[in-house]
Symmetry: C2
């Protein structure tokens, strides 16, 4: 398994503290499912395997999404943003993206017009 990126890709990317945020969007429903982090090895593994693979900041290890839950993400495409510091993955999500069992991780609405 390659843990480094081709130079022509690596030179476009701005890792911050070795990490880059990666947004996963459902390729069919277009729901934003989650945001997680990748290091170079996680992105290299994602590109070579086509399975979304992140860096767990809490466990300090490579994390193949769904490796234990079965809720994997098959990557359809990846795009880098204009300044090279954020990734957007289009994925086929098996089951729930969120560890709570919710379809997406973004399930807590915040009230607009809230006053302190």
């Amino acid at each position: 398994m390659s843990t480094s990126l081709p130079p022509q890709i690596a030179e476009k990317l701005k890792f911050n503290g070795g990490l880059i945020p990666a947004i996963a969007q459902d390729a069919k429903s277009h729901e934003v499912l989650m945001m997680a982090w990748m290091n170079e090895a996680a992105l290299a593994q994602t590109l070579t395997t086509g399975q979304a693979t992140y860096w767990s900041r809490s466990r300090n290890e490579i994390w193949v999404k769904g490796a234990t839950s079965g809720h994997t993400q098959k990557v359809i495409s990846i795009a880098l943003d204009c300044d090279g510091d954020t990734l957007l993955l289009q994925v086929e999500q098996i089951g729930a993206a969120c560890h709570t069992g919710e379809r997406t991780c973004f399930h807590q609405p915040l009230p607009l017009k809230a006053q302190a």
Copy 2:
């Protein structure tokens, strides 16, 4: 203009180094437009004004999206993710979200199956 959050909102949020990533999604087309950062004051201003307001890490200042370009984002709704460390905004985007003139910032595809 309030620069702090109501306690019942603040207690749900995990800022990292004073910042939280905020993903902006087009409420109609469902395109993911950009990811930027908010500090507490930027989020408080977003919630009270309904206009997406970020923290510019390069300029070290509050940044009302579109204040100079006219490409504002009217916020339709905001959701917090399961672990309280990422925001998702549904917005009405006026004009281009990206400073390059592209509709979204995510316009550089990365090749899958890339080998180093």
